[in-house]
Amino acid sequence: MTEVTSFADLADANAFMDSLFVYRDPPAVAPLKGAAAHEVAVGPVHAGVIEPGHFRFQCMGEDVYNLQIFLGYQHRGVEEAIVAAQGNAARQIALAETCAGDTSIAAATCFAEIQEAFANVAIPEDARRLRTLLLELERIANHVGDLGALAGDVAFLPTASFCGRIRGEYLNMTALLCGNRFGRNAVVPGGLRVELTEEKRLKLVDWIATVKKDLDAALKLMFEEPSVCERFDGTGVVPKAVAEELGLVGVARRASVELHGDVLSRAMVRRTEIEEAHRKVLDLLRKCTASTRSPMPAQLPAHNGFAALTAKVNAWRGELLHVALFDATGQLLRYRIVDPSAHNWQGLAWALRGEQISNFPICNKSFNLSYCGTDR
């Protein structure tokens, strides 16, 4: 879905681009006072194989009074690079895909939709379906991985082990479709570079049926384990009113609005979304046929005044927003990417209030936000 906003002059257009959401580091605050006051600094290099960020826990005794999240370590200028790569769509889309690697398909879809809307090209229905199929596989893989990691963080190893393997199965399904486990280079303006043959389609249907059984068993095991549920229940609560005020999106928002906003709620939302995504995938697999591609013009057409094109995709973490500002000649002036993570860091900081630091890993995993998507 793409929206077009037109502007008479550049100042208005720039003001619009500047108004888009950006995560900003919290302001420096005075250290806590008192015998029990202390600060724990973590990062940028973390203990696990994860991205860099700096966390500062201001604690009173065992309790976290305030968590400050400092980002920017991953900043490499993705947006500026997309503008600079004008005329090389392959490079631009690769840049968009590597903004946040676990959201490659959603990002490529946003970029492609903007190009298509600007050039006034309608993509074939089968291509649209296939894009959705890839997006849903991306959603399932990530949710499965995160649920497994949550289990791992509370030392419930059966589900951690099962889900670690099952996530790989879904990545391999994406690789079956396009050759890359993260769906890189699959989505392009005009359609896809994917050939869904009848053989692949049938293989996927069978594969999903087998893996889904294992996945159901793995998740049932965790959600029916009292010690796990007890650990998740009431931990890292973001109340509904706070979630709405902070403007949380995606999984975190659903968990606060539809459920209780704790780690268990965020885990349950992921389980629900896995179910929804499977229904969609199976439905799409019934309808999908070989994909075709619409030809894109070599140059984007001229336009009236300045135009900002906004593409929104329901990515697995929440709404992913790409906004491109073009001038009248079709030149790309600015590009902005608003990753759903950007909205949710404050939710994570809130969730830690009054918790112990030992609860940070499960709170963090229940959100699993993207550092690189936020830093761009």
């Binding site: 194989v49 991953q74 900043h75 690079a81 059966p158 670690g164 793995a218």
Partner: protein, 249 residues
């Protein structure tokens, strides 16, 4: 506990047969080591270079046409427009020198390099890695993490990701080294005890990929190309790095 055992029994043994009994199970459209035909013309080269997302990944000069796997994203666009370039199923991409990443037109059959460095060979049964993500997109990080899952289980070869550089034999670098991670990377590398190695995984860590490349704290001892490298590529490269794997799979 019985439920967990029952679930395990139903799922069965899921660790892959790679690399102990067979080669990896790669997708049909897998793009591995590229091959360039010796008779690639200037016109064919230009057509391929025009669609490449990376500057200087495809080169043509006095030495002929070459493709730098250290820059390549393995997107396969060049092969779509030029029949003289082909991405093979060769997944063994890890090499020990930067020059070895460059594929030349008309190159003969490929043999992966063998380790001769005694310090690396000493890690045959234990290779402790400290990962540093320096401006990466998390793709390389995720597919490195995957090696710890039971599907790949690199732990059976004594390979582990450890929490501290003090415990590490090698720093496993991903990402182009953003300006804001340069200091943290330098300090982490410095904190690892000698002898130590730097492993550059992914196009970003090797050459910056799509982005500006920061300063490598040392010349890498192992290069694992890809965007991101397939887990099979990474595992095979790590095993060959320590001399644990020498033959063909």
């Amino acid at each position: 506990m019985f439920k967990a055992l029952l679930a395990r029994l139903k799922q069965g043994y899921k660790t892959g047969s790679f690399p102990t009994q067979s080669g990896p199970n790669l997708p049909p459209d897998f793009r591995g080591r590229p091959e360039i035909a010796a008779d690639i013309s200037e016109k064919e080269f230009s057509a391929a270079a025009a669609v490449c997302p990376i500057k200087d990944a495809l080169m043509r000069d006095a030495q002929g046409v070459r493709l730098d796997m250290g820059r390549c994203l393995f997107c396969g666009r060049c092969a779509e427009v030029c029949r003289k370039i082909r991405f093979t199923k060769e997944y063994r991409l890890g090499v020990f020198t930067r020059e070895a990443l460059v594929v030349k037109a008309g190159e003969g059959p490929y043999t992966p390099p063998q380790q001769t460095n005694p310090d690396a060979l000493a890690l045959r049964n234990t290779l402790q890695l400290r990962e540093v993500s320096a401006g990466g997109c998390a793709g390389c990080e995720l597919d490195a993490n995957v090696l710890g899952t039971l599907a790949w289980d690199m732990g059976r070869f004594g390979i582990r990701f450890v929490a501290s550089p003090r415990h590490a034999d090698a720093i496993y670098l991903t990402g182009p080294i953003s300006a804001n991670m340069q200091l943290a990377l330098d300090k982490t590398y410095a904190a690892a005890p000698e002898p130590k190695f730097l492993i550059a995984a992914g196009a970003c860590a090797i050459s910056g990929g799509l982005y500006a490349h920061g300063r490598l704290p040392a010349p890498p001892a192992l290069y694992i190309p890809g965007c991101p490298p397939h887990p099979a590529t990474t595992l095979e490269a790590l095993l060959r790095f320590t001399g644990r794997l020498t033959g063909q799979l």
